[in-house]
């Protein structure tokens, strides 16, 4: 394909500027002349080539989640995110000509703020895992302490990223054990571990294994008593039926929000949620871009990226984060999606997931030899199942029936997920195959 409007006028332009070789400043030995690239393709050839490769994918009924959820994207949400003015714009450094994106991000911040009950939401991080990594770094900036407590039930992906973010600056990540039968965080153990060296206490609610932490108020108190920041990881959709983290004392909230209006796309892009309570010190130390409301010369409401003195392009090595490119367009889609769902639609969706997960939980529990859920707690839309045999064997049978089962947690334990795309028939199909193993 040809994206070179000046190719026909090249020679004339060379003549005007008076240079014959635009790469004469590059030492000869670094000029790469090998002919290793394929010839260009026409648009039709390109389409056929790429779709030919993608056609090697096989459709599969997937019950995998783990922080990445395959939800339905309404047509009009995709249509808005496809507006050229939005998706072909850069970071809105010139606010007067970028009000559309700025207002949409402000709306994302506002809508999400109401869902999780936190007044300050940033304009996005890469995903839940990096939002968590940044949250731990922020805890250390705030209280100069080094120990960060996490649930031992947490996502291994997020744990690995958290470790990558914190290990070079001397932070120590310690796992808090859980109660065997319920999976709930062991609050007695937590209380023993929490002291004045503890920088932050992190809890996932719902947990990676899908259940709500019923001792969340006590966990919050433990954090408060030892002077640690209380960091809560959340699927914001759960806040359609349960209290938001702001209502139980979260200092920092992280989570994944891409499934609210974005396609799963094989797990990327995602949309890291990052929020704090209203506090000047926390605000000055938080990572990521923030859009604020102000006015223009005519007094009209206007939006602008603000508190930029925290950011890398101004503070360089003293910045609160290195983040530059984020996930703005995904945040815009979330704003469009949430304003379409509205208050009743949002709660209805959360209730439907809660309801449909219970259908799956009960259905699998009815099969002889299966324990579902494996932990005796209240689950939102994910749940663990204890299988009568090795999960690798179970997954093989499921795969040969066109199903991708739960995420492996242990030898006989895996984590199933229900999204709004799963129909009753889909879940029945899963149950049938499991029953036949």
């Amino acid at each position: 394909m040809d994206f070179f409007p000046n190719k026909p006028e090249k020679d004339e332009m060379y003549e005007i500027i008076g240079h014959e070789d635009l790469f004469s400043d590059v030492p000869e030995r670094y000029i790469f002349n090998k002919d290793i690239f394929n010839p260009p393709m026409t648009e039709q050839e390109t389409l056929a080539h790429v779709e030919g490769i993608l056609s090697k994918n096989v459709e599969i009924l997937s019950f995998k989640g783990g922080g990445v959820y395959d939800h339905y994207v309404p047509a009009h949400v995709q249509s808005i995110a496809g507006r050229n003015e939005f998706y072909t714009s850069y970071t809105p450094y010139q606010p007067e000509v970028s009000q559309g994106m700025l207002q949409a991000i402000y709306e994302y911040q506002s809508l999400m703020s109401r869902i999780i009950d936190m007044p300050v939401v940033n304009s996005s991080m890469y995903d839940w895992s990096t939002a968590l990594g940044e949250a731990a770094l922020m805890c250390k900036r705030v209280n100069k302490r080094n120990i960060f407590l996490v649930p031992d039930t947490m996502s291994p992906e997020r744990f690995a990223v958290l470790k990558a973010y914190t290990e070079n600056i001397g932070m120590d990540i310690q796992k808090v054990p859980h109660d065997g039968p319920t999976g709930q965080m062991d609050i007695a153990q937590l209380s023993k571990m929490a002291d004045d060296t503890c920088s932050g206490i992190y809890v996932e609610n719902p947990s990676y294994l899908g259940f709500f932490e019923e001792g969340i108020d006590e966990i919050s108190s433990v954090a408060n008593d030892c002077g640690a920041l209380f960091v809560v990881g959340v699927d914001p959709l759960s806040c359609g039926i349960v209290k938001g983290p702001g209502s139980y004392g979260a200092d920092i909230v992280v989570g994944e929000a891409s499934h609210l209006g974005n396609s799963i796309n094989f797990g990327g892009p995602l949309l890291g949620l990052f929020a704090i309570r209203e506090d000047k010190k926390l605000l000055r130390t938080m990572p990521g871009r923030l859009v604020g409301l102000t006015s223009d010369l005519d007094g009209n409401p206007s939006y602008v990226m603000t508190l930029q003195t925290r950011e890398q392009h101004i503070r360089r090595d003293k910045a609160t984060s290195n983040i530059c490119t984020n996930e703005s367009l995904c945040a815009l889609s979330v704003a469009v999606y949430l304003s379409s769902l509205g208050r009743s639609g949002f709660s209805k969706l959360a209730n439907a997931l809660y309801s449909n997960a219970s259908y799956a939980i009960n259905g699998i529990a009815g099969i002889e030899g299966y324990e579902s859920p494996a932990f005796d707690s209240v689950h939102f839309r994910e749940f663990t199942v204890k299988h009568p045999r090795d999960v690798a064997q179970v997954e093989n049978v499921l795969n040969s029936n066109g199903i991708s089962g739960g995420i492996t947690i242990d030898d006989d334990l895996s984590l199933y997920c229900i999204t709004d795309k799963h129909t009753k028939e889909d879940i029945d199909r899963l149950i049938d195959v499991l029953e036949g193993i």
Partner: protein, 488 residues
Amino acid sequence: MYRQASYISDLRDLGRPGKKGYVPSDGFGSPKKLPSKLARAEGPMLPELSEGDVVRHYVRLSQMNYGIDNGIYPLGSCTMKYNPKICERIAARYSLSPHHPLDPEYSIKGNLEIMGRLSKLLVDISGMDHITLQPAAGAQGEFLGAKIIWKYHSKNGGANRDEMIVPDTAHGTNPASAAMAGFRIVEVPSGDDGQIDLGALEAAVSDRTAGLMLTNPNTLGIFEAQIGTISEMVHDSGGILYYDGANLNALLGRVRPGDMGFDIVHFNLHKTLSTPHGGGGPGAGAIGVKSFLKDYLPTPLVQGDENGFSFSDRVDAPIRKIRAYHGNFAVMLRAYTYLVSLGSDMRLVSELSVLNSNYLMHRLKDEFEIPFLNATKLRKHEFVVSCENIRKETGVTALDIGRRLLDYGVHAPTVYFPLIVKEALMIEPTETEDRADLEAFADALIAIKKECYEDPDKVIDAPYNTSRRKIDVVKAAREPTLSWSMEE
């Protein structure tokens, strides 16, 4: 004449209880009642709008936004090139039959092949040996690169190597990423030719040097011609040479970082490989390394050839993950589509982006001060203008001039960067801008310069034709209002 639409539209005003924009399906289970201590008394207070309300509101907002599809967007170091629509079509069609990142390999052979083939092309472009596509953005690629440097030294007797060298022309993300990985930053100045001062670099390297992060061409648009010597100095001291790929567009298909001695490279797929910037993201920040660093790449890696690709995982990898799962696949898909459609014509990308940049500089050099032009005649894909004389003589700043440009229907260049140039305008036209658009941009800038002398207040109070007039940024920072709940 350019005039942007202007609306005042607020979701809260459009909402009315009972209106529905999207109705999810009913649940079909019979769940237990939630324990009352968990349950929310009433749903979050989201406004309720019809689908039509929502669409009209956001279409109006889109009309108050300027993208590369509206006109020239010459932000320096941002590579705002045209985003081919075939890439969007393929990505949109793909999004309808997606997969979970942990779905079994037999079901995702197509995805694996896209990732494998893209990795191979990035190897060919960069002259590196191995690629990971995991980082979500350029800055995350830098962070991963800095971590690899840290891990490498700590495993090879260099635990005391805690200094990362960056030139004073470096992008802000370089020192920020290295600091996040635990390094102390040592800044080296540029010389009179706008290139790294070799004497200063000599003085900076030591047995505490972990590495040097370098952009080449640098942010002045100048090729660091002493790269051979720089590479030797860093390697002789035991350091690792890191390539910031933000400016790779200038060299695509012609000069390879790996051949210049770089050990680690990051790519900005959303710059060089034309994937859209999405108003700030998503992007993707793959990195490439020489073979001695392969074991430090996060997992899983894509392996194989056109007969079949697979993931290879390593539980004992020193850096297991830098983000969840495999990276921004939807961005990779667009980048791959762009690259195969270009093929060997990618050499025209570098040539014409450099031609456009030098052409535009040529049109401006008699009217504006171009720092370092006497010592170094050529620029690569971008160049920097200083408005310091204009500021001294008229009081109008580079920021004002940038804002006034908006009235002419062109986006402003990057302002106040690099930091070593006073009142900087950093201009990167890219290869996809037509000569007529370059001329119009130059004419606008020259006309504004005239205005600075004739009617400076007119420039200072600009813009006039955009959806909002000059915006009060001081007020925004002094009394931060960051959500509806902070307004109320």
